[in-house]
């Protein structure tokens, strides 16, 4: 493996990792703050991708505006889902099981709705002008859109860090993750907080779907592939652990990128194996503190 090839794989892995992280961070946010496992998170990714197709390819909206609007659109659907569906089962006996079930139903419904609206054929989105070709660094030619994704990922990480650590909203969200009842006692509107978190997380998912659309073709099954991958990332990093998701995404992204070179056929197995190993030996995630087992 020569150096330039190594760099290429590294960049490719980083791109995958960034997209994975962007989706997974939404999943982990909902779990961490709301204790909700959103199995349908991948479907919001898919909604974002299709909205982007609709706006950018069909309606010829400006690419960057289209990205943002797609994210907002997915977030809106997320808010509707939270208010009308998930909120109704909070606190029910066997809640975790019903959450998984409810969001599984959402996958089925959204999948079919997307098929009805956009059909089953593959959709493509052109890369925005200025990011169609490669960038030359030394004798390396790196696709500029990949670099763009990586940069966007870094921006989101920094922004998220700022929001979580420096703003009141972030502090509320972090407090909610620890003790929801106390927040209520402090006079904070807990249901509203939950809805907003759900909206932000699904918007992030939709935005990622739109961002990834020029790289991957948009298909009705996209949500399902994405949820399994981001699930793996979240489990590895620790459910509800924002930074863990980042590390998990990097690990899986690079593992896949280099795995494909070494054992092309079996590379997809690696991520499952890693997830299984983590769940067995440190179920709370590689990057989360070990929990004290409750008596």
């Amino acid at each position: 493996m020569d150096f330039s090839f190594f760099i290429m794989q590294l960049i490719s892995g980083l791109t995958v990792a960034t997209l994975l992280f962007l989706v997974a961070s939404g999943l982990t946010l909902i779990f961490g703050v709301g204790d909700v496992f959103n199995f349908a998170h991948g479907s919001f990714y898919m909604i974002g991708a299709y909205l982007a197709f609709q706006m950018i390819s069909v309606l010829q909206v400006n690419f960057w505006l289209g990205l943002v609007l797609s994210g907002l659109g997915a977030g809106l659907v997320g808010i509707v889902a939270e208010v009308f569906l998930l909120r109704r089962i909070y606190g029910r006996k066997h809640e975790a099981g019903f959450q998984i079930l409810l969001t599984f139903c959402l996958i089925l419904i959204i999948d079919d709705l997307v098929k009805i609206i956009w059909g089953t054929e593959y959709k493509t989105i052109q890369r925005p002008s200025g990011f169609t070709g490669p960038v030359q660094i030394g004798d390396l030619y790196i696709p500029s859109y990949n670099l763009l994704i990586i940069v966007v990922g870094i921006i989101v990480v920094v922004a998220a860090w700022w929001v979580l650590n420096k703003t009141r909203a972030g502090k509320i969200a972090r407090a909610a993750a620890v003790d929801r009842e106390m927040l209520g006692a402090m006079g904070i509107n807990v249901p509203m907080t939950m809805t907003m978190v759900f909206g932000i997380a699904t918007a992030l998912g939709g935005f990622t779907g739109a961002l990834a659309a020029p790289l991957r073709s948009v298909t009705p099954g996209a949500g399902v592939e994405v949820i399994i991958d981001s699930l793996i990332v979240v489990v590895i990093g620790g459910m509800g652990n924002f930074w863990g998701a980042w590390m998990g995404a990097l690990l899986i992204g690079e593992l896949t990128a280099f795995g494909i070179v070494i054992v092309p056929k079996w590379a997809t197995l690696f991520s499952y194996l890693v997830m299984i190993i983590v769940l067995i030996f440190k179920p709370e995630g590689l990057f989360s503190p070990r929990k004290i087992r409750k008596v």
Partner: protein, 319 residues
């Protein structure tokens, strides 16, 4: 009182036997026979699955793993060794599933709640990937077609009655388990695992036991299916298969032994009817189950029993 409940129990089984026993008489088309066979097999799958979820409180999103294994042992044995290995393959599949369930189960019981669900999903997807990629041996995405049962069992009506016998016997066995002291302990594990420890019973040990039992019966369902479809396919392992059995169970009612039984019939019939009009049946199923989860969480059987209970109470008060 006791004779009455015994009578009810017997008549319940008799009704089931008669209804399903008469299917080949009235439903003569291959399609209808096929549908009835599917219903029977999914009844077994769903009931075995619910021994984990409804009874013990362990939501597995990966029972498709054993469904696929049961089927692939039969299918691959017939493919490589010939038709005579159909039933031995089924038996070997059950034993192998029990061993694999023991090994995987030992790892699964270390985690609880959502993590358990995710880990079951991960194992099933891992197996799916292996079967998918191991093209030379498993046929990958193409699966294996043209798998025939030996001798007289290749006759669909004979095979139907074979399925009926096995499924009814299995359900009967599972019901005995559910209403035995062991089943009682499982319900207790579901409701209050900490207290179970103070009864001197090991929670995880019991969870492991029922995980193996459930998986073996799920594998049996998979093995039986090979003779109906005469093929095996990687879709049997895929996570939506695990999802479908969950939908059935919740449709029928998770806290009733016969919930999955009714749910499987309902879901397959809905699929069949809706499927005839539109290809978007998962939209319909998804919406129906969504409404069930939100408004009728006890499922068809649970809500029916509650209605009946209320009605009887009313009658008692009135009289």
């Amino acid at each position: 009182m006791k004779t009455e409940s015994r009578f009810r129990e017997t008549s319940l089984w008799a009704t089931i036997m008669i209804i399903f026993g008469l299917v080949p008489v009235f439903m003569t088309s291959t399609y209808q026979m096929n549908l009835a066979s599917h219903i029977l097999i999914w009844i077994l799958f769903a009931t075995a699955f619910n021994m984990l979820w409804g009874l013990t409180g362990m939501l597995s999103f990966g029972q498709a793993l054993y469904y696929g294994l049961g089927a692939y042992f039969v299918g691959l044995m017939v493919k490589y060794l010939g038709s005579a290995w159909f039933f031995p393959g089924m038996a070997i599949g059950l034993v192998a599933s029990a061993i694999i369930a023991l090994l995987i189960g030992l790892l699964l019981i270390r985690v609880g709640g959502v993590y358990f669900t995710m880990l079951t999903l991960a194992f099933a997807q891992l197996m799916y990937q292996i079967m998918f990629k191991w093209y030379n041996f498993t046929g990958g995405d193409d699966g294996v077609v043209g798998i025939m049962q030996p001798g007289i069992f290749s006759n669909p009506i004979v095979y139907y009655y074979f399925i009926l016998g096995i499924v009814i016997a299995s359900i009967w066995i599972l019901k005995r388990i559910a209403y035995s002291p062991f089943g009682m302990v499982l319900r207790c594990v579901n409701q209050n695992p900490d207290r179970v420890r103070f009864l001197g019973r090991r929670v995880r040990r019991n969870q492991l036991r029922i995980y193996i039992v459930s998986s073996v019966f799920v594998a049996l369902a998979g093995g039986l299916m090979v003779g109906v479809d005469n093929s095996i396919h990687t879709d049997m392992f895929v996570w939506t298969t695990s999802g479908e059995v969950i939908l059935m169970t919740v449709l029928g009612g998770i806290n009733q032994f016969f919930g999955p039984f009714v749910g499987a019939i309902a879901l397959i019939l809905i699929e069949d009817i809706v499927g005839a009009y539109t290809e978007y049946w998962s939209l319909i199923i998804g919406t129906i189950v969504l409404i069930m989860v939100l408004l009728f969480p006890k499922g068809l059987v649970g809500e029916f029993l509650q209605l009946k209970h209320r009605f009887l109470k009313l009658k008692k008060h009135g009289g």
